[in-house]
Amino acid sequence: MNAPSLLKADDLSVRFGSTDALVGLSMEIQAGEFVAVVGSSGSGKSTLLQCLAGIVRPTSGSVLVNGERMERWSDRARSEWRLSNIGLVFQFGDLLPELSLLDNVRLPLLLAGGDVHAAAGRANDVLDRLGVLGVADRRPGQVSGGQLQRAAVARALVHSPAVVLADEPTGALDTTTGQLVLEALLEAARERGSAVVLVTHEARLSSYCDREIVMQDGSIVQPVAS
């Protein structure tokens, strides 16, 4: 772990009203590494992920991106950085229900100013890689949960982000489907050299990752190298 960190949380604290979601948390993400963040519900995993993505501003502490303090960036700068460098996967996909899977997957490329046809080509590639090309023209409400999550993974990976932040991506799936989705996510990320931060409350899934961070009450209680 001597490579410079891609993302670094430094003494990060987040407070929502009277609730401390994160308390003085510090961690680093290296390029290309897979990190599992595990912990019980309410331990602050999702808040950590949203801080790393620049969605939630920390109450104190910093998130450093290549050494720059993210909280000093404007909302616009954080959004643009997220669009180019981060792939997000949520438990329920959070795809736009009005668009087809193909349109959803190529959306990050198009929003970043990419060519329409090139974006469609890359989206088709990723969808094919994840085994959902056959339903690419369907809308999210017209496919199964597993297909939906694969499409969500495809959307997170299509622009080859530096980091994929996945918040319980298999939480709504059965074990077999969840395992397939996770394997597809990790393989595709590995091919693109993307780092992956996988938030899960299922300890068994952490075996797929390079290291595991265990959280409790907003703090890391057991950083373990795998």
């Binding site: 949203q50 909302d75 009005e98 959306l107 990050p108 198009l110 929003l111 329409v116 809308r139």
Partner: protein, 743 residues
């Protein structure tokens, strides 16, 4: 992809639901365009018609000698519509009236197309125009396509003494046909009746499927779109739909006017060119409506875009501030102040009172909308105390999603408020018309001013008694009215018994009001004596008679009563007593016009104006009320359907845990009915306060039209009940498995 292109793409995306949502939003914008265009168009019609009324108004010579007279202007009526006849001398120079290529020759009549059509079907009208028909008057010479106007040619020898010298046509000083005070009140009501519900309607349409859109915007923000770009996507989505609907409305409106050269709305008719707005105004209105829609959507989505994470976590976290009650409270206070001021303010302080009243109405209308979510929260909290699942569910929905539930009925509440206030204004108009009606006494004297000098010419008009001939005596500038009549004639024509009347004597007459006794002034007495001497009449020998002659628009008291055998043969004014119940203006006008086309009589000139004004305004109010309620009902229906579509998944979840369909339907009805009823009752109370303020100012002592208000409230409640049942049925239907699977 450009952000705007994404917004456009999202506008109609999402299958059947997406298309339905887009069509509803577009239909809302189209309807708004038509309503606003029509409202502004009506104002333009009034302006254009006033301008044309001035264009065709004759310019009369200020100081013309009787030798130069060339025209008689006669205004009478047909079924409360004004029928104007202009008799032009055919043997002297007269200006050519607008809309004609030449003046009419002797014995020729040139009619407006509407008058010609009427004459073809109404024998009484045809009888008024026995002359030869000339060319029709072109539109440039008419105020409106339904105007009844005729130019007649007659020898100047038939032109009577009260005729005029018409120098030209196009009098810029001709007064507006509308009473400016009443017009201002009506304009305010139209704004309240139409603009307020239309704006609410657009708000409802712009916020259709708001929760789905919020979900989309949050997803885009999480993906990495900046606030500005997300707002652009949002604005494009709403803007393109509103623009498409507005353009559709624009095409429908212009197409309709293009196909119809004349527009008829009930008893009203206009030239299409009068109601058609200039292109720049159309563009401005469409732009303003689109911008309004976008602004509404942008404002409502502000929280979701600036705090996507929080919105995603808890969509019901939006705080409803108690300050939302402030505009409604302020509006009610202003209306109460207007009510109190009505007691202490003189009528000549009309301007400031109208401003106060208008501000109160505007604040109250806006306040109703703004306070609606607060009412939903209050009702929701109350319902959540119940342990019955349907009530609890409905309460929870009201508590956590107050905006979308209260938005359903907000437009109808504003429409109800506006319609209620308008009905009280209509009460004032009805009172005005009634006041005019009861002034007509049992015997009405037909007053004729004509060239004939023999009273017997007009005998055939009434079998009641001989006509009274009136003439003027005295030097020019100091003339005094005298009447040639026997006591029998006088008794038939006046409202007093005239027991002191003495036939064969010259008698003085005096107004029945002592304060206006015209025989006690020494200067007047001197003038009277001089006038009697000039006319070679003997001095009065008995006490003055208290008498008044009622005619259609007032009362007349001559100065002197002269026995017919002593009267000079210069009478040009005649009073013909006719029983009021036999006073048929149509028959009388026809008979008189056939007998002496250039004679002027006063059928109901002032009353026509008053009654027509009341009728026009009553028509505006009735049409506005209907339009407002239709807009409100349309908003209610659209929002109900959209809500039903949007909340299907939530209801499916309820069904999945075993809730029976009846409970689900009941919860849907309960989440609509109490807030609707509450808001509608609130709107009715506000209308009572506003209406009471107006009546207190315009007609103190008038009672609020409770029956009309109750009918409006009943209609609104029935509409919301129907909407709630429709929603319950629609949800049950849309949740059928085969439909869910298809989608």
């Amino acid at each position: 992809m450009r952000d705007s292109a994404l917004g456009v793409r999202l506008a109609g995306a999402g299958g059947l639901s997406g298309w339905l949502r887009m069509v509803l939003m577009a239909a809302g914008s189209a309807a708004a365009v038509v309503v606003v265009f029509t409202s502004f168009g009506l104002a333009r019609v009034v302006d254009r018609q006033d301008a044309r009324a001035q264009h065709i108004a004759p310019v009369l010579a200020a100081d013309a000698g009787s030798a130069n007279v060339n025209a008689v202007l006669i205004a009478d009526g047909w079924e409360r519509r004004e029928l104007r006849r202009v008799v032009l001398a055919s043997d002297v120079d007269v200006p050519t009236p607008p809309g004609l290529s030449r003046p009419p020759s002797a014995g020729e009549v040139m009619m407006s197309p509407a008058l010609e059509r009427l004459a073809a079907t109404e024998p009484l009208i045809a009888g008024r125009f026995p002359q030869a028909r000339g060319p029709l008057i072109e539109p440039e010479g008419l105020v409106a396509p339904d105007q009844l106007l005729a130019y007649l040619g007659a020898p100047s020898s038939e032109i009577g003494p009260l005729s005029s010298v018409v120098e030209s046509f196009g009098d810029p000083s001709a007064s507006s046909r509308l009473d400016p005070r009443a017009a201002r009140t009506i304009a305010m009501l139209i704004a309240l009746l139409l603009i307020a519900p239309v704006v609410m309607f657009m708000v409802v349409c712009a916020r259709l499927s708001a929760n789905s859109r919020t979900q989309r915007l949050v997803a885009l923000r999480l993906l990495g779109l900046t606030r500005r770009r997300t707002q652009l996507v949002n604005a494009s989505e709403i803007g393109v739909t509103a623009a498409a609907g507005s353009v559709a409305g624009l095409i429908v409106w212009n197409g309709w006017l293009w196909l119809q050269p004349e527009v008829r709305l009930g008893v009203f008719a206009w030239y299409s060119s009068d109601i058609r707005l200039p292109v720049w105004q159309q563009c401005t209105i469409v732009g303003a409506l689109v911008v309004t829609s976008v602004a509404v959507a942008a404002t409502a989505s502000r929280d979701a875009i600036s705090q996507p994470s929080r919105t995603r976590r808890d969509r019901s976290s939006r705080h409803i501030s108690p300050w939302r009650l402030a505009p409604l409270t302020a509006g009610a206070v202003v209306l109460i102040v207007a009510r109190v001021r009505a007691d202490v303010t003189a009528l000549d302080d009309f301007e400031s009172w109208v401003l106060l009243f208008g501000a109160g109405l505007g604040l109250t209308a806006i306040g109703l909308v703004i306070a609606a979510p607060l009412a939903a929260v209050f009702i929701g909290r109350t319902m959540m105390r119940s342990s019955r699942p349907p009530v609890l569910l409905a309460g929870s929905r009201l508590r956590h999603d107050p905006s979308s539930t209260s938005r359903v009925v907000a437009a109808l509440a504003v429409a109800l408020f506006a319609a209620g206030v308008a009905q009280t204004v209509a009460v004032a108009l009805d009172r005005s018309a009634a006041d005019n009606q009861h002034r007509i006494p049992a015997v009405v004297n037909l007053e004729i001013i004509g060239p004939a000098t023999d009273a017997n010419t007009y005998q055939s008009l009434s079998a009641l008694a001989e006509p009274l001939a009136s003439f003027r005596i005295g030097s020019p500038g100091n003339e005094i009215d005298a009447i040639a009549a026997t006591c029998t004639q006088l008794r038939a024509a006046t409202i007093q018994p005239l027991t002191d009347c003495r036939d064969g004597n010259v008698q003085l007459a005096q107004w029945t009001e002592p304060s206006t006794n015209n025989s006690s002034d020494p200067v007047y007495d001197a003038l009277l004596a001089e006038a009697l001497a000039d006319a070679a009449l003997p001095s009065p020998t008995s006490a003055p008679l208290e008498m008044t002659i009622p005619f259609v628009d007032g009362y007349f008291t001559p100065a002197v009563i002269v026995p017919p055998q002593l009267a000079p043969a210069t009478a040009s004014r005649f009073y013909i007593p006719i029983p009021a119940d036999q006073y048929d203006t149509q028959t009388l006008t026809t008979a008189l016009a056939a007998q002496s086309p250039t004679a002027i009589w006063n059928p109901l000139i002032t009353q026509i104006d008053r009654l027509d004004t009341a009728r026009v305004y009553r028509g505006f109010i009735a049409a506005g009320t209907l339009a407002a309620l239709m807009i409100g009902a349309a908003a209610l229906t659209i929002a109900t359907i959209a809500n039903a579509i949007e909340h299907r998944s939530r209801l499916r979840a309820l069904a999945a845990i075993g809730a029976n369909p009846a409970s689900i339907r009941l919860s849907i009805v309960l989440q609509t009915a109490p807030i609707s009823l509450g808001l509608l009752v609130l709107a009715s109370v506000a209308a009572l306060v506003g209406g009471n303020a107006y009546l207190q100012f315009s007609y103190p002592g008038s009672t609020i039209p409770l029956r009309a208000l109750s009918a409006l409230l009943a209609f609104s409640v029935a509409a919301t009940t129907a909407a709630a049942l429709l929603a319950a049925t629609a949800v049950t239907h849309l949740n059928r498995n085969e439909i869910v699977r298809q989608e």
